[in-house]
Amino acid sequence: MQYLPNILFALTLAVGIGYFVMNVRKLSRNIKLGKDVDRTDNKSERLKNMLMIAVGQSKMVKRPLSGLLHIIVYIGFIIINIEVLEIIIDGLLGTHRVFQGIIGDGFYAFLIGTFEILAALVFVAVVVFWLRRNVSNIKRFLSREMKGWPKSDANYIIYFEMVLMTLFIVMNATDVPFQQAGIGNPISQFVAPLFDGFTPETIHTIERTAWWLHIVGILIFLNYLYYSKHLHILLAFPNTYFANLKPKGQFNNLESVTNEVKLMMDPDADPYAMPAEGAEEAVPEKFGASDVADLSWVQLLNAYTCTECGRCTSACPANLTGKKLSPRKIMMDTRDRLEEVGRNIDANKGAFVDDGKQLLGDYILEEELWACTSCNACVEECPVNIDPLSIIMDMRRYLVMEKSAAPQELNMMMTNIENNGAPWAYNQQDRLNWANE
């Protein structure tokens, strides 16, 4: 019977990790619903971006307060993983504080002491996060797309972190031999006296309970990620690696269009030519995007990576002037629709069955798309290099080229370009008049 806790622990770990792996596979399948784009070039520059932006948090600190708080939580998260490793080994082998024996008291004290201080700092940071979200009237947390689940999701994450940090400190505070040794307990030594009146058995039970809740909590949190905006803690890394490296003003030249235009402009082309013998009857490619499968996998990865911080929206000139467009909502809508498509595929044995819905219209409105000035402020702002503008542009392309649904004034502008070579209805022969005026 003495191995029961170890077996129980191994089972818990297996279930926790197994469920997570299952969801990661679903995530990967959903992202691969997107069209292919090549992002395998410039490996060193990509790596550098990832190291600077995701690992080094270089874009987070552009807003100093939230940047600093974020860095505390981020470092806490990364470093405390060493502690999690110890817990896992202890849990599996039935040891207690196994690292202490391996690395020696001095270094162990330094490590655990650091963890305790970080845990306390993380606790303070997330309390400030909670206050910012729930008490301060910070505009970007109050937008219409932040009602309901996005708001509670953010708060759940904060509560999770508060509870996990508390459990870690309590676990140390009630570990009597650890407290008696007096090494590496800079925070927990002040919590320990709270348990002074308890019997040794009760204290031990509290310690074991905190230990178990801590590791089970971590496993639950791990599995919560997939359902939450908190997924960014994993996806920020690939997302910054695969992000666009070209100048922000450079919009892609749709290749399918290039082929058609070349054919149109080629005086030798025979418009009535039959396809070559044996050539497959190609389905004409859809221009632009109306649903998630028309977007690229990078755009879909962007959607899963978005943590709804709203820095994009708070810099968007359209949003700042009260228009409906919010780049954050574009990303959230894309993720929501992609999730819906994923569930549809799961429910229909691996194939998508038309549900009469699409990203355009059911999630993102034309009014939002037409409010964009393509200024790239949202792209610049994003701490993890998400590109909402590319989605807006692909959807405009669909509206204009597939649906001929541009606003009337833009249709006039385009007709003018077609007929006069200028967006205004002036005669091309008058192009040089300015020289003689």
Binding site: P247, K248, G249, Q250, F251, N253, L254, V257, T258, E260, V261, M264, M265, F287, G288, A315, P317, A318, L320, T321, G322, K323, K324, E367, W370, A371, C372, T373, S374, C375, A377, V379, E380, E381, M393, R397, L399, V400, M401, P407, E409, L410, M412, M413, M414, I417, E418, G421, A422, P423, W424, Y426, Q428, Q429, D430, R431, L432, N433, W434, E437
Partner: protein
């Protein structure tokens, strides 16, 4: 004003140093034409051997592309590339950041590869080559703020050339709170110039003008004909046209040099 065309040049068997791409706004818009003329005066003063396409110039297709009409954009691009390559153009300068961006970034993969300069970069080169000097006495001490055009700044990371030129005017350059990579759009980009704005509670150009007015400027400097229009309209809306003027950097240099 003596403005040679590529066709004239070719007839004389000459190849100019640079093609000046005037752009639709610079050709037709009354306000933007002043920028065009100011830049030509600068080119003349520096003895730059340049030419324009004149009636052979057509829309770059930028506005069509941002509106989502990739077809029209590529048709325009391919026609322009045919003309430019026919004249063996190597170097292009333009006062319009939208044309600049499109030539620099979007034409190459369609067969149009050129050395492309925004006029502020080009003028900066003229100065560093010793071909042009800016008189720093005429505008001395004026309070100037510079509005970064999105398609020059964020889109292509050109922040320093316009500022370098402004400093050479001997003026007092003050920055808006939102500047360089965090600059606010003037409201005209993404083909917004050609349509009414969506419903909101303010116009973007008014918000941007308020940013500029907070620096208490005498002059708002721009580097884009569309920004110029938007900021000029903003100043009118704020009824400040008596004490604040909006000028392109080319106009300021022409004024400083008494051109």
């Amino acid at each position: 004003m003596n403005v040679p065309t590529m066709a004239d040049m070719m007839a004389q068997g000459k190849q100019p140093e640079v093609l000046f791409w005037v752009g639709a706004a610079g050709s037709y818009d009354d306000r933007a034409k002043k920028i065009t003329r100011a830049f030509v005066k600068i080119l003349h003063q520096a003895n730059v051997d340049f030419a324009v396409l004149g009636v052979e110039e057509s829309s770059t297709g930028d506005a069509a592309k941002r509106a989502g009409n990739e077809f029209l954009f590529q048709m325009q691009a391919m026609m322009n590339i045919e003309v430019l390559n026919g004249y063996e153009v190597k170097k292009i300068v333009t006062c319009d950041p939208h044309s600049f961006n499109t030539f620099k970034n979007e034409y190459p993969s369609l067969g149009g590869k050129y050395e492309v300069y925004h006029h502020t970069q080009f003028i900066q080169n003229l100065i560093s080559e010793g071909r042009l000097k800016i008189d720093d006495t005429n505008l001395k001490g004026k309070r100037v703020t510079f509005h970064d055009p999105c398609y020059l700044g964020r889109a292509n990371e050109v922040y320093e050339s316009p500022r370098d030129l402004i400093r050479r005017l001997g003026v007092n350059l003050t920055e808006m709170k939102r500047s360089r990579e965090t600059a606010l759009c003037c409201g005209a980009g993404g083909a917004q110039m050609f349509k009414d704005a969506e419903k909101g509670d303010k116009e973007v150009n008014v918000l941007r003008t308020e940013d500029a007015l907070k620096t208490n400027p005498q002059i708002i400097a721009t580097g884009c004909p569309y920004c110029n229009t938007m900021m000029t309209d903003g100043i009118k809306f704020k009824e400040r046209e008596d004490n604040v003027i909006v000028r392109d950097i080319a106009e300021l240099i022409a004024e400083a040099n008494n051109l």
